[in-house]
């Protein structure tokens, strides 16, 4: 008898790509792309005249250039467009220097600011970007320009990767982790360690003590939300607040931040129904900056 069993991978989130049906690009249009190679997810967006046309979200592999190519090909899939149709490509994110086809690399801070401005409009002043390995609180002006920002330490505490670890530990599919964490009658005390490795140990201890999965998850999510709220307060909260990055899809996080800060975030667009995905905000921003850079290049 085999001793190994096929372990289900609860952390594994779904890759997907989307094409906006109402846009039909022609060769007269200015087509640009943004590729955001994050630590966990690689996102690529294609824009036609500054309007989102298609995007793809994939997992980042061990090879950044490969991941960038994969994400961009995923965004171009079924669009009929080729890599050569893209006038300008901007690379961004953790692996931005490793995007081989990019004309320019720009920090993800500038791209998320621009992307949040594009998704939610000019009323956005504070952007919380919760990525796979870092959290950034960014203050922006009505044009999507960065005013100031703060970043967490080099630590995965309170990030998307931490959530993946917890999904695996508690055997809850990652996409259900937000709603599951809200299934508690009373909000438990947050776990004392936000460090992923220590929090995992603490969570195992709590499970042995007889806590339900939901309660443990709520305690961890609460600790993460407190950390994010602190970062927002340090940069200076100014409404409207939005959450971008993978964790914007985690309703457990978003609702807890709202409770702690006492403000409502602008709602996460319904990306399942085809709306702009805030997880790809960096890629949208990069594609918009690509358009601006291309136009500037043409003028000179």
């Amino acid at each position: 008898m085999s001793t190994t069993t096929n372990k289900e991978e609860f952390w594994r989130w779904h890759e997907y790509h989307r094409i906006m049906p109402n846009i039909k690009p022609t060769n007269k249009d200015l087509i640009t792309a943004g590729v955001d190679v994050g630590s966990v997810g690689s996102k690529a967006a294609v824009m036609v005249n500054g309007q989102a046309y298609s995007w793809g979200i994939t997992r980042t592999g061990s090879n950044s250039p490969e991941s960038a190519k994969k994400a961009l090909n995923y965004a171009l899939k079924d669009t009929g467009l080729e890599l050569t149709d893209l006038k300008y490509i901007v690379g961004t994110g953790y692996g931005r220097v490793n995007v081989p086809m990019a004309n320019k690399a720009i920090t993800e801070i500038a791209c998320h600011a621009k992307g949040a401005n594009y998704i939610w409009g000019p009323s956005v002043r504070t952007v919380l970007d919760v990525g796979g390995q870092d959290i950034k609180a960014i203050k922006i002006d009505p044009t999507g320009r960065v005013v100031s920002f703060l970043m967490n330490d080099k630590c995965a505490a309170g990030t998307g990767r931490g959530m993946e670890v917890f999904a695996d530990l508690l055997q809850i599919p990652i996409e259900e982790i937000g709603t599951t964490s809200l299934k508690v009658e009373q909000e438990p005390e947050p776990v004392s360690c936000t460090c992923v490795a220590f929090a995992k140990t603490e969570a195992i201890g709590l499970l042995r003590k007889g806590w339900s999965k939901e309660k443990v998850l709520a305690a961890y999510t609460r600790a993460m939300a407190v950390r994010m709220a602190n970062l927002i307060n340090r940069v200076g909260l100014e409404p409207d607040l939005v959450v971008t990055g993978g964790q914007s899809k985690n309703v457990g996080i978003v609702s807890r931040i709202e409770t702690i800060l006492g403000v409502k975030c602008l709602p996460t667009p319904n990306w399942r129904e085809g709306a702009l995905d805030p997880m790809a905000a960096g890629a949208f921003g990069a594609a918009l900056l690509a358009k601006a850079l291309y136009e500037k290049e043409q003028q000179t």
Binding site: A110, R145, A292, L293
Partner: protein
């Protein structure tokens, strides 16, 4: 440091007795601008690095060297504009 006001003259980096400042390239308003920034190694401990210059007065070598008035010390909260 206000990266919008910084002209990239690098006078502050020369004035700093702790050599805590450096010139970096940042992408601002679709341009690669050369601006002054605090060195990475000093970022988390800047309050200690700066103590010798009496930052509470806001009259440190770097603030005096800056013609663009892009540097100020947040030691004293009233300096925060």
């Amino acid at each position: 440091m206000d990266s919008d006001k910084c002209t990239g003259c690098a006078k502050c980096t020369e004035s700093c007795p702790q050599k805590a400042l450096e010139m970096v390239t940042e992408f601002i308003d679709l341009e690669d601008k050369t601006i002054a920034a605090i060195k990475e190694m000093h970022r988390k401990k800047i309050q200690y690095t700066c103590t010798t210059c009496k930052p509470e007065t806001n009259q440190t070598p770097c603030t005096k060297a800056c013609n663009a008035k892009a540097i100020w010390c947040v030691w004293n909260p009233s300096n925060l504009k």
